[in-house]
Symmetry: C2
């Protein structure tokens, strides 16, 4: 029986050192995590659902996926033990560039480059450390989807099923291009100091906000943003004056400034660079086979979900996954003007799909509302 | 009979002062232009086709649209007198931020903000100066499409027909967001000096390259970029090393660096900011009516062309134009993985469409190859 965190509270688990895919070493790692619901079963057969957060996400999945995780919800915490760890390289409790280095100071530029595979390898080490050999399901979107896919590829015996959302089999050149543009916005900020700004200054907050502005425009569909803002001027400002004036903005620019400020308050620029770099390295085929062979060799039952208006991970990339994965449970499209972020915002659709996922994984029946409480349900545990 | 430039050669036309839509004044403007083909007709009825270049375009339309402009081509210079001016605020001969101010020094930050309407108003003043009251057609894509649309809205009696390509009725919030991100990349560069870097330093070349990188990813479809580069490493570089290293790149990053360098060599950052700001201000409805009413009031026969994979000006924006313009000749979709830039690269499709445009405008018949030379053709002149 694993010794788990108090439900809902942030806990810290030391897991020792880790050698990255590229040969770097991260010493003395701590993993921050949260769990909800009661663990049932044993190390090999249990009710654990592992949630993989996206780039700037954190362990509080019951908050950022609040419509989907909780008592009676699609991921019903009266039935499932839901666990969410903060990714390696992150800044919400897990070891990352802003953490203390064992030799003193912050990791900063000493933090090695990590890949999506490293994120999963570290998380596997975490599960080993808390005494769980296999989980019931892994679910994640965006970077969390890439991690879910690598879970199925790297440790097929450690999960019963996977739900891969709004991601691709590998980074596309366009994704690398736009992601490197974000990294560059941060590293061009004079306050970056080669990644060693900790204790020197506040850090590259302007660059981080600029990166977030670019990123946000890839997360949000142009239709949704235009619905909200159009060409409206920010209240009290005139973006149509005689001279261009950055203090006189369109409403959308004020909104994007706000998104940048909000991120700066809660996220470390070093982590943003580290995790964006990991996304650049996402490639299920690396060192394995051709891309489609690598996908076909993944035999974990997998649900694939995409968004019709996603420009960051366009829907054809999820179609590609569903055509080539070795054991597809089903394939679904979120229909939404929101774009990539729809998996975080379209609760009604996601609720249906995650209930369907749970149902398909457990007895193959079609889901009904509240199905998780059906006394006839033939659950795996 | 207007006194026109020698065919193919860059010429300069002084047109006096101009007051902008927002109340600024640009003094002593020079317009750079090129023309191809022999002028036929008079000031009011003639064979002039005006080509409107895109943001970083220039007067040399027979170069950047080389497949479409020339003897026997879709825009047949044996029949048409093709004219292309450099836009106000540009840096290819027309007055812009890098030009000499009459009071000394460069215009720099003294250059007023311009709108798409100003671009057209200035070009009208240019036509007046060379003695042309009305042209046969105006054709343009992207920013050139916005200018073409405003030609039809502002001076309906000054053109027989318009061909509006890969643009929208107004800037969308997403476009404003991504365009402002580019402006900000330039103005955050310490070498921007508030727009007055001329004679002080080389200018914000790093910021301009960064802006171009972002822009390029909106001009090019993710499928086309991924076809070319995928996750391939740049030759001799290893983007998967133990530490992130900007000198060890994916091929796509090297390509985008190259695109940035190329632009820096040929384009002024002040012009880039000025013209991007003009795109932010694009709005056919401003001061006129509702957006759809403003479009409906445009009675100039207009062909609308879009690109299926355009993320900058998505195809639904051209569908919107075609549903609402007051006199649509026809509506067409370029099918291409290239995205927005397809109107510059898909010569075969554009050739068909521009021949069709010429045909529809002149006698309503369907085009045939080489139709321009059909002795039966009932041309307007």
């Amino acid at each position: 029986m694993p010794d788990l965190a108090t439900p809902g509270l942030l806990a810290y688990q030391p897991i020792g050192d880790y050698e990255t895919e590229a040969g770097g070493t991260i010493l003395d790692i701590t993993i921050a995590y949260q769990r909800w619901g009661t663990f049932q079963g044993d190390a090999d057969t249990n009710n654990v659902i592992l949630i993989e957060h996206a780039l700037t996400g954190d362990t509080d999945a019951a908050e950022w996926w609040g419509g989907l995780i909780g008592p009676g919800k699609a991921l019903d915490t009266e039935r499932w033990c839901v666990i969410c760890t903060n990714v390696i390289g992150g800044c919400s409790g897990t070891t990352g560039p802003a953490s203390e280095h064992p030799d003193g100071g912050k990791w900063g530029s000493r933090f090695p480059a990590t890949s999506i595979r490293d994120q999963v390898g570290v998380e596997k080490q975490f599960l080993d450390a808390i005494g769980i050999n296999r989980v019931h399901a892994v679910i994640g979107g965006s970077m969390g989807g890439a991690r879910t896919l690598e879970w199925a590829a790297m440790y097929p015996d450690a999960l019963d099923a996977a739900c891969v959302i709004a991601v691709s089999a590998r980074a596309s050149a366009w994704q690398i291009g736009i992601q490197s543009a974000q990294i560059s916005a941060i590293t061009r900020d004079p306050d970056w100091h080669g990644g060693d700004y900790y204790g020197v200054c506040e850090g590259p907050v302007t660059g981080l906000a600029a990166a977030r502005r670019i990123a946000h425009l890839t997360y949000r569909g142009e239709m949704e943003i235009d619905e909200r803002f159009g060409t409206t001027a920010q209240q009290g400002e005139n973006p149509l004056g005689e001279f261009r004036d950055p203090s006189q903005r369109f409403a959308v620019d004020s909104y994007l400034d706000y998104q940048g400020r909000k991120l700066v308050e809660r996220f470390d620029a070093g982590s943003y660079v580290a995790l964006t770099e990991a996304l650049n390295r996402h490639d299920v085929s690396r060192g394995r086979a051709t891309l489609n062979q690598a996908l076909y060799s993944i035999k974990v039952p997998t649900m694939v979900i995409g968004v019709d208006t996603d420009i960051l991970y366009p829907f054809h990339q999820q179609e590609h996954l569903s055509r080539n994965l070795g054991n597809v449970l089903s394939m679904h499209k979120l229909v939404s003007p929101v774009g990539h972020d729809a998996f975080l915002t379209e609760d009604r659709q996601m609720d249906r799909l995650l209930r369907r996922f749970i149902s398909l994984v457990n007895d193959g029946r079609e889901p009904t509302d509240g199905f998780g409480h059906d006394p006839e349900g033939a659950w795996i545990i």
